[in-house]
Symmetry: C2
Subunit: 242 residues, 2 copies
């Protein structure tokens, strides 16, 4: 095998080392469990310093392609098909990316003291004020998704006076709340009367449900349920690297 590039060292050295090893893993030449060469062996093979091969191996470890064990060496990991990158785009961006006209409609907005059900949904114990919002997103004037959202005003007091009649609450939050963490739960239901009417589908038709719970540093921000017509909407998750 060639250790040096054919034409030149176009990519940097550590990237070439990483790519070389990655290729051997992908092709199965180095199967899961195989011990890849020690750092000092790679140093000798590529004629570079240990920091360089260390950087290549560290990135492979971060990508879960290899596992590094002190004193033992680095080993090819078994593929983990279960981990995929699911892209849940902002609905507006998703629709405009499809080249369709985005439409938004506020159906209802209520400011109230948190009920027991609200607290349960937001995962908070203390009572406080919340805003409950129901709205609909459409593409080319066809209902695309209905949104049912709860915002914790003790975390986002500014949301009490925000105008959600034009701007979707998701977009507003994205611009007014610092970095957050989120958890999505995906499930399927059949449309009840209310959902069927909002999405303009038949009662009993399948719906894809995304429940998103958003927080920042253990502080709840918002909980949202998105309902999509199940036969027309698709969520695509691609395995890492693609």
């Amino acid at each position: 095998m060639s250790l040096t590039a054919d034409t030149a060292d176009q990519p940097t050295l550590y990237k070439r080392i990483r790519a070389d090893i990655e290729k051997r893993i992908l092709t199965g030449e180095w199967p899961p469990g195989h011990r890849i060469p020690f750092e000092h062996e790679l140093v000798a093979r590529y004629g570079c310093s240990r920091m360089t091969v260390n950087k290549a191996l560290s990135e492979l470890a971060q990508a879960d392609l290899i596992e590094r064990r002190r004193r033992a060496g680095s080993f090819v990991r078994r593929p983990q098909h279960q981990s995929a990158v699911l892209k849940i785009a902002d609905i507006r961006a998703e629709i405009t990316a499809l080249g369709r006209a985005y439409g938004y409609e506020l159906i209802g907005r209520k400011l109230r003291a948190a009920t027991a059900a609200d607290r349960d949904r937001l995962g908070v114990k203390k009572a406080g004020k919340v805003v409950a919002i129901t709205c609909r997103h459409s593409a080319d004037n066809v209902p695309f998704a209905v949104e049912d959202r709860l915002i914790d005003l003790s975390s986002v007091p500014h949301a009490a006076t925000a105008d959600f009649s034009r701007e979707p609450p998701g977009s507003w939050l994205l611009h007014h709340v610092p970095w957050t963490e989120a958890e999505h739960t995906i499930s399927a239901i059949v449309a009840d009367d209310r959902t069927a009417e909002a999405l303009d589908i038949a009662v009993g038709a399948p719906c894809l449900v995304i429940d998103r719970y958003t927080w920042r540093s253990a502080r709840t921000i918002t909980a949202v349920r998105l309902l999509y017509p199940g036969d027309s909407h698709r969520l695509v998750a691609r395995f890492k690297g693609g």
Copy 2:
């Protein structure tokens, strides 16, 4: 603010630098677009070499928390809620992780020349042989999911003679095929007669559908459709970093 840890330097220095910056971004102290200190400033602040702060910043860049621009500096990125890590576990692992008894049952297996529908599903043009497998996974003897799979024998010839009566094809492939890439599509349907019977649910009940298409280096390996009862199964995707 304190630059040194209260007790001791329990984590390594570059991890502390990374955590310090991450905290400022998460709390909103450094909002999206904010330029974080230059490497040489952090070097002075932490009293370490540039390689150390470089490692911290590189990892933050890899996690998409910051963006690095030559000559300009490093900047806080806007949160990207749309990217979440979806864990689609191996069904057996998923069930045993729940502390329930895993059951597997082969319903049907056919070896045939690829039909037009098969080729379309696998995304291949040339004809060839395929194995079509239908099976059921159960938890504590309750149907958990039904699987409908197609394996391209031109990519995995060994699958023609594999015994799928005991081992699920997913597990078998995991152990016999090198690293692969995959794409998942999630949607919702209502159960038809055949599905309802296999999952022991009512006709018209909601079902969550995962279509997974797996390949390696542009070579198709398998296409599988998994059907779950929609009211009992959940897919959880957590935003990166959790």
